[in-house]
């Protein structure tokens, strides 16, 4: 006993493997514009930008789903809110990103706070259904905006400025910006997860009653996570509008939210690189299969079933197994 009194707390080591995987992914993404230049294929950079934007959203969803145990079926609504904040402001003649971004963040944050406060009164299947309902509410609300294209969507004839420059007017500018936001999101969500806040959130996923009996308001921490994830998704939405120069209510459709859930589960929930890998893989498969056949989902569906059956823990779990036991 006396020996143990002076026992040091064991400090967990940071595993290296996820950092190596992430380095490879980000290095590959950084090389894509160079390769595209050589092959002269703008479609490749465009594809990569789309994949990176979805990866940002998937990472934010993993904070809710993987770390917080909150399966949101309405997460794409926040993407749509961000995209429409950007689209509407540009249509109204406000081109400055330094104004657009705060408005998008505020709008998404407010919606997350209100809808989250209601959704988080429930859990499990009810939570899934009520987030779905809120998502559909946004979808139909955007579809009714007659002055902004209603169901047909809205074309942005001009892109946003960035601090008075036309940085976001060039493909390279958009690529670099999206890459930077993805890298920042990946790093930030990991920091949040490991910090005090994230520890409470992760604990509440395992055993909310215990966490409450320790003296934490589980609701408060979950709601905060909900707002953070919503805001990140909205930033991705702004980037989407900037990149695509076209937005429509379908950005917030429930099918999109479903795709996001698939990406997170496919990659591996609550892992350092799972959501990132999942989103990139999803887009890659979608692109490859849809170039082969129009009915690509006929192949994609069974593929997902196989992954669900044989790759527990998603792609990250698969990678771990390939590396073998240590």
């Amino acid at each position: 006993m006396t020996d143990q009194a002076h026992m040091q707390a064991p400090v967990a080591a940071t595993p290296r493997a996820p950092l190596i995987v992430a380095s490879v992914i980000f290095a590959a993404l950084a090389l894509i514009p160079v390769l595209a230049e050589a092959w002269g294929g703008a479609w490749l950079t465009s594809l990569a930008v789309r994949a990176m934007i979805l990866a940002i959203v998937a990472i934010s969803l993993d904070l809710l789903m993987g770390q917080g145990g909150m399966v949101s079926f309405g997460h794409s609504a926040f993407v749509a809110i961000g995209a429409y904040a950007c689209g509407i402001m540009i249509t109204e003649g406000v081109y400055e990103m330094a104004l657009i971004l705060p408005v998008a963040i505020a709008a998404a944050g407010l919606f997350a706070l209100i809808s989250g406060a209601i959704c988080l009164r429930t859990s499990g299947v009810s939570f899934i259904m009520i987030t779905l309902a809120f998502g559909q509410m946004i979808y139909f609300a955007l579809g009714s905006l007659a002055q902004y294209g209603a169901d047909d969507g809205l074309t942005l004839w001009s892109g946003p400025d960035f601090l008075g420059t036309s940085w976001l007017g060039s493909d390279m500018g958009v690529y670099v910006t999206v890459f930077a936001v993805l890298l920042a999101t990946w790093a930030l969500v990991h920091r949040i997860t490991g910090a005090r806040f994230g520890r409470v959130l992760r604990a509440a996923r395992q055993n909310p009653t215990r966490v409450a009996s320790m003296g934490y308001s589980v609701f408060r921490y979950r709601l905060t996570a909900y707002v953070i994830a919503g805001v990140i998704a909205a930033i991705a939405g702004v980037l989407w509008a900037t990149h695509a120069a076209f937005i429509s209510p379908s950005l917030g459709a429930w099918q999109r939210s479903g795709d996001l859930i698939v990406m997170v589960v496919l990659g591996g929930m609550a892992t350092r690189n799972g959501a990132l890998l999942g989103a990139l893989f999803f887009i890659l498969i979608e692109e490859t299969l849809s170039s082969i056949t129009h009915d690509w989902r006929l192949i994609f569906g069974p593929l997902l079933v196989l992954i669900a059956l044989y790759a527990r823990g998603g792609l990250v779990g698969l990678l771990d197994r390939v590396r073998g036991p240590r």
Partner: protein, 254 residues
Amino acid sequence: MTEAVLQLKGLQKAFGALVVTDKVDLDLHPGECHALIGPNGAGKSTLIHQVSGLLQPDAGRIAFEGRDVTGQKQHERAVAGLGRSFQITSILPDFTVLENVALAAQMRAGSSMRFFRRADREEALNAAAMTALDRIGLAPRAAAMAGALSYGEKRMLELAIAIAGKPRALLLDEPMAGMGRAESESLTDTLLELKATYPMLLIEHDMEAVFRLADRVSVLVAGAIVATGTPDEVRADPKARAAYLGEDHAEGAA
């Protein structure tokens, strides 16, 4: 007598037609271990749940350190200083033992709305957790995953979590439940040590432990307290004996 740390007045709770807590008055004094005994289904856990805030009573009042906490939520009561353990082991299985306890310590160490610094590297929290683990005798298992602990170790972890939150009173719901004789005895020793620091409301079936630990014993039968007194008084009380020895004896004794 000194003012009670915890005081229940006319506590009432029913699930439909089933009365599970029937006008319970009960108090806990500083430095005291007050044991709550009674047959299965008497409503002991339900009572603890109402004190900790997991369940709301239908009527009655709960005062903690002179303040009415009846309307407070579970987490608010924990912040106020009511620590508890659960009858059915309630831990965080995917965390290490150390992190389970460090999270409990984190509640007393300033805001948890911190988003950047790694919590598992916060030395003050880890040190507080190690102190709690050491007091319970679980320090050597600090690095193990909580889900991989043996049953007895999980029960000890319950207790370490409860004391790491710096409670001002402990609600212990069958801390010895399901333990072997040797484990049970060593845990009783631990609780005897803890008693010096924390007033305890203790539910326990292990009578040997109850009589070693308790200063006062209350007997709960069908939601109502039928006897309260020192262990010796309760041992001699016919109603208390009836509760434990069976209804036949009750008739004979009455």
